[in-house]
Amino acid sequence: MTEPLLSVRGLTKDFQVGTIFSRRRVRAVNDVSFDLPAGRITALVGESGSGKSTIARCLARLEQPSAGQVLLDGQDILRTERRRVSRAYRRKVQMVFQDPFGSLNPVHRIEHFLTRALVLHGHSATPEALRELIKTVGLTEDMLQSYPHELSGGQRQRVSIARALAVEPRLVLADEPTSMLDVSVRVGVLNLMRRLRDERNIAMLYITHDLGSARYLADTTMVMFAGELVEGGDALAVMDAPAHPYTRLLLSAVPDPERAGGHDPVERAKHREAILNPMSCPYGDDGTCSRTEPVRHIVGEDDGQPHWVRCHLRAPASDIARRVLKATDRLDDEAPDAPDATEKAETTAA
């Protein structure tokens, strides 16, 4: 495989929560490492509160990671740009946010957003450049003169994408770009992202909890659970042959009319048990399994990509994991719960 565009090594992020008297730390992301190669879409899936967005925000430098390295072209940008991120970095890495209603200033025309992005990053904002930009994302020229409220959600999200593209980035971080959109336009935005990958060789990190769309769009999928990556590999392989019990649990939660009568509670309980109280790891033939170290087992290879899974023996390290699962537990077997805890776990997601 070619040299990755961006490499993340051991990324960790702690948040301080509570008041001045009861201060404590919540670890939202714990020791996460992955690569984002150019021209490929990497999906990061997981439930709310698993730390997906925190990773994107760390990579966009909207949050300061607590530890770890972010290597862009082999240079650790956390070291070279310690406090503030340079404009040069922003030129290479752009972000598209979840809410197209909140991310465009309502008092400006669409033209303004694109012009600003172009000018700030040293491109000239000629009418041709604007026209080309708006056409790339499948909108018409006359929309340049529109205000955000005149556009639909899907169109607005396309404007957000156009704005990100204006600086000709090499990496786009898309944080749930379709979750606020109506069904009728979701696929359109997904197809647009795919086209941009193919035409412009852009690397993308696609963050979502919609497993179907990750399967549809991504080349590589990584599954995140309680701040840690638990499985990764070719998008189809991960979805069709999930190796980690958490991935199976997540998949079993997706409504699927083909499974008549919905999910199988017994099966789900088994997956949950396997995550919380692991007895053995089916992949550790060579004795590498560890309860403390995050060991990765390679369980297969598809399309030149290894399909790896974290050793099952390593129960989720952070408290969040236990709490997140407890919350799911409650309904199926009426287990006594710790509502306090669930709520805290959710707060960290925000």
Binding site: S184, H209, A253
Partner: protein, 321 residues
């Protein structure tokens, strides 16, 4: 058996300055006792308009210009303000789309639930508080959380509180307008399981509204697909999934990337504007539908219990298929 809710030929218009938009037109369906009926469709198709019409929540400029709504034989459209007050919540309860935000942020959960019982049941505070605790337990939340403010609960828990409040007075019909749209899959799965349990326990009927076809097919007994203010297909949920007869139903089912099977290129639903005299979907129709370009035709029963919006010529063809 007498249906709980019967909607017949309902037409809702939104009157603007010089221009009238039809929110729903000729909508007819019925919901049986203990039945889960689903209404599917994209934004703007009129599904929320129906929900608001049934609860009489429509405000000007919206206007019900034709049709009838009968709830257990009673004419809902004829209820006066006092009757409405008793009718809502006790007979029909509603869980709204952004239900999580419909809790009052400055009152505790307990105060808000107690309020229902003291107002509608004229209960004493103490008894009401006890009932509130039981109610929370019903949806799997520790009664100790009665003292919590909405912001101290997670999105999923807030949604469960709202559902608990909706079923507090044991309504005969629960209307849920996109109850899980803002939640992730795991929480959504929990809430749906919860709703199924509650329904089994309390035996109410559900009018369930969503754009997520897979979720709807999994939950509903019967369902209708709405498009441009009209129902275009009405059938048993399993039958509809097995073989959609209307091209729009098929398109809506294909609007979500599937979790199984080979990866296929999908095309989004057609985003064409709808006008009074053309069924906008005609443009995006995968098959030739030249005979219904002017309007969405009325529903026709093709096989027993299976209704499709088609003109006569095509329905004979559909039956033979």
């Amino acid at each position: 058996m007498e249906p709980v809710l019967e909607v017949n030929g309902l037409r809702v218009e939104y009157r603007g300055d010089g221009r009238t938009v039809v929110g729903a037109d000729g909508v007819s369906f019925s919901i049986g006792s203990g039945e889960i009926f689903g209404l599917a469709g994209e934004s703007g198709c009129g599904k929320s308009t129906i929900a608001n019409a049934v609860t009489r929540l429509l405000k000007p400029p919206a206007d019900i210009t034709a049709g009838s709504i009968r709830f257990q034989g009673r004419d809902v459209l004829a209820l006066d303000a006092r009757e409405l007050r008793a009718f809502r919540w006790r007979e029909i309860a509603m869980v709204f789309q952004s239900a999580m935000n419909s809790l009052n942020p400055v009152l505790t959960i307990g105060e808000q639930i107690v309020d229902i019982f003291t107002t509608h049941e004229r209960m004493r505070k103490r008894a009401a508080r006890e009932r509130a605790g039981e109610l929370l337990q019903l949806v799997g939340i520790d009664p100790g959380r009665l003292k919590a403010y909405p912001h101290q609960l997670s999105g999923g828990m807030r949604q469960r509180v709202v559902i608990a409040m909706a079923v507090a007075l044991k309504p005969r019909l629960l209307i849920m307008d996109e109850p899980t749209t803002a939640l992730d899959v795991v929480v959504q799965q929990e809430i749906m399981a919860q709703i199924r349990d509650l329904q089994r326990e309390l035996g109410f009927s559900i009018l369930f509204i969503t754009h997520d076809m897979s979720l709807m097919i999994e939950l509903s007994d019967r369902m209708g697909v709405m498009y441009g203010g009209r129902i275009v297909e009405l059938a048993d949920a399993k039958d509809l999934f097995a073989g959609p007869l209307h091209p729009y139903t098929e398109a809506l089912m294909n609007a979500f990337p599937p979790l199984t099977g080979p990866r296929q290129e999908l095309t989004g639903l057609f985003d064409a504007p709808r006008t009074a005299d053309s069924c906008g979907f005609h443009v995006g129709c995968p098959e030739d539908r030249s005979d219904c370009s002017m309007n969405i035709p009325d529903l026709r029963e093709i096989t027993p219990g299976r209704w499709v919006a088609r003109s006569k010529a095509r329905s004979s063809e559909g039956a033979s298929r």
